[in-house]
Amino acid sequence: MIAEIGHFALILALAVALVQAVVPLVGASRGNAAWMALSGPTSAAQVLLVGISFAALTHAYVTSDFSVMNVAQNSHTDKPMLYKVAGVWGNHEGSLLLWITILAVFGGAVTLFGRNLPPGLKSRALAVQAMITVGFLLFILLTSNPFARLEPPPLNGQGLNPLLQDPGLAFHPPLLYLGYVGFSMAFSFAIAALIEGRVDAAWARWVRPWTLAAWVFLTCGIALGSWWAYYELGWGGWWYWDPVENASFMPWLAGTALLHSAVVVEKRDALKSWTILLAITAFGLSLLGTFLVRSGVITSVHAFATDPARGVFILGLLVVAIGGSFLLYAVRAPALKTGGLFAPLSREGTLLLNNVLMATGAGTVLLGTLYPLFADALNLGKVSVGPPFFNAVFLPLMVPMVLAMAVGPLMSWKRSDLAGALSRLKIAAALAVAAAIATWVWQGGSLGPWWAAGGMALAVWLFLGVLTELAERIRLFRAPFGQSLSRLAKLPRSAWGMTITHAGLAVFIAGMTASSAWKQESVQSQKIGETITVAGYAFTLKDVQNVQGPNYLASRGTFEVSKDGKPFAVMQPQKRQYKSPPMPTTEAAIETTFLGDVYAVIGDSGGDGGYVTRLYFNPLVVWMWAGTGMMVLGGLVSLTDRRHRVGAPTRARLPAHSVRA
């Protein structure tokens, strides 16, 4: 009964969304206030109806109602409660319902927090949101009903893929979706602005916090997925340039570019149509990501929907949404008034450089991700495009961007002199070169990869560049110390946000470089009592025992690890065999230190009395997670800046000659 209520609520939500997509839009173009105001109650109704539906599915999972097909296929009574709940979105239908739920919540948030939005912009943006909702609701109701019943209901469910039974992955999809769907806000505002024919500083100020929030969630979601891959898959890597990873990384790149160009719109009233284009692109890539992941067109670990009808539907949705908005952009963007001018060497100029490189980077990732599809379609053979391609193409594009990242914040708006900015970065440059030389000498010249020295130099350059900018801002050593301190205390939160995020990227680059360049690894058949030494850590395999878990059996190896003769840790990696579905998984044992992770994996018996073991030392891995954490923290700090919440809501009066919709 409850499942039927959930299904019915979804159908009602579709009807409400149709009203919300049409009436406020018509109202806005006719100047009918009552029609425009309808977007408020309809978006509240959306939250309620979709919320009921989501709650109904969650109820089915929590109570293990196996008469619902979705639950029977993806859950099991002996699963821990956390994974019963996470199971709601651990499958195709449920994840789409989660998407819609988040979309509705965002729409409701606009209504709730957007009281000072101009009614025209607000009602149009909410109407565009409703159009996206209609598309996705149709998709769910027509091809992927999560509430379909099963007759007769089975005694127990088939269980959730054990790899997904993990706290990191339980929260990975919701965070990722909060990011994807968050970009829909920027998209809706961009379309609304195109219909209205005006983009101004006030517009950018409304869009920025939404984009920033989406960016924070997306960063968190990607990092969580990457962390999961690192500790759960037991391969010791954290990024594989898998199509699915790329699918989430492309909107991240476009979203990062959007964040920066929106700053230029807000502060300088320039780069307007470019910003609109980025907003459309960021959401378009989010949709494309969903399509790639859900349609099964690309060989990937997440491709659970192999039903072509679904793929065709998403492709149609994609064509309509992206094609339609680009068409609208082509027609309307030339009417946007270009604003403030700037010299190439200025803060706007460096932000533009950042944007161009980010967008090009996203383009190369897109090309690499889709190339196997094209090659197959054009009969060029079956190919796979993997890490060598992306490392050779994407990373070189990011080098000038990181170089410019230290310089940009030191430039002033409108017109600036590069020599002045560079002269302030003398110390940073000197220490970056020193870091490169030190790295080169430490790794024994060309014994290590040459780019490691470059990577470390970039990290040092960026980190010191960020500190230099902070010191400049508070006039450290140039004003009395007390005055510098009081300037420090008065820095706006958004400035702190930038400083923390950029410094976080520097820390991340250091970790990424070290773990890619100097990972040490040893794979062998190890007998009980045998000692293998990796990077100075001596691993002695003490024993291998069978242990019983709540829904699995495991063989657990015990390693005594010592460093320089002193005991370091006892590590117990496992190889688990789950019961439902029957499937083995590898549980790595990881000991994290400041300088690197000690990582042990145990495999099957090698047939000669030993066990296959894989032992790693992964340098500075924790720096990557810390760096990502700093990036997220910086975003959050910036979000709390009160300028994002108050101020500038009033718009300049419409000039008489501006375009009317």
Partner: protein, 146 residues
């Protein structure tokens, strides 16, 4: 700085970035992409495989897996032909006889020297390339996915 000049700057910057990216992409597409072949294609010497990094996919032949410590030997078959593979390392969790597999490496003397055996996260999962090559050799057993 006039509007035109700024636009020109924008265009030059864009062209520069896209040009660099295009050059990088073209060189990477020549060296860094990996072609996928079935055992039949390799054994009938239809393709030039010497010295190149390639992917080999098919089913792990029943009864062919031999473990010697950390070294594993097995055969990959597409029904028509089977090619011996050597791999040293930890096999993915879902590696099993009779299951689909994709390996990456180079051709040695009659043996495929794999440096990677790809894992997939789902027990029912059949890599698309493997399914296609099995269909081609007429040994596709599974039902056609609707």
């Amino acid at each position: 700085m006039t509007r035109k000049k700024r636009r020109l700057y924008f265009v030059i910057l864009g062209l520069l970035a896209v040009g660099t990216a295009a050059a990088l992409v073209l060189s990477a597409l020549r060296q860094d992409i990996v072609f996928f072949f079935s055992p039949t294609e390799i054994l009938e010497a239809k393709v030039q495989t010497e010295g190149r990094r390639i992917r080999l996919g098919g089913l792990v032949e029943q009864g062919s897996v031999v473990k010697e410590g950390a070294k594993v030997r097995f055969k990959v078959t597409d029904g028509a032909h089977a090619l011996p593979v050597e791999f040293e390392g930890l096999l993915p969790d879902l590696f099993r006889e009779g299951q689909g597999v994709v390996t990456e490496g180079r051709m040695g003397a009659g043996v495929f020297l794999a440096s990677e055996v790809l894992a997939k996260h789902d027990e029912n999962y059949m890599p698309k390339e493997v399914a296609d090559s099995l269909k081609k050799s007429g040994h596709w057993q599974g039902e056609e996915k609707k």
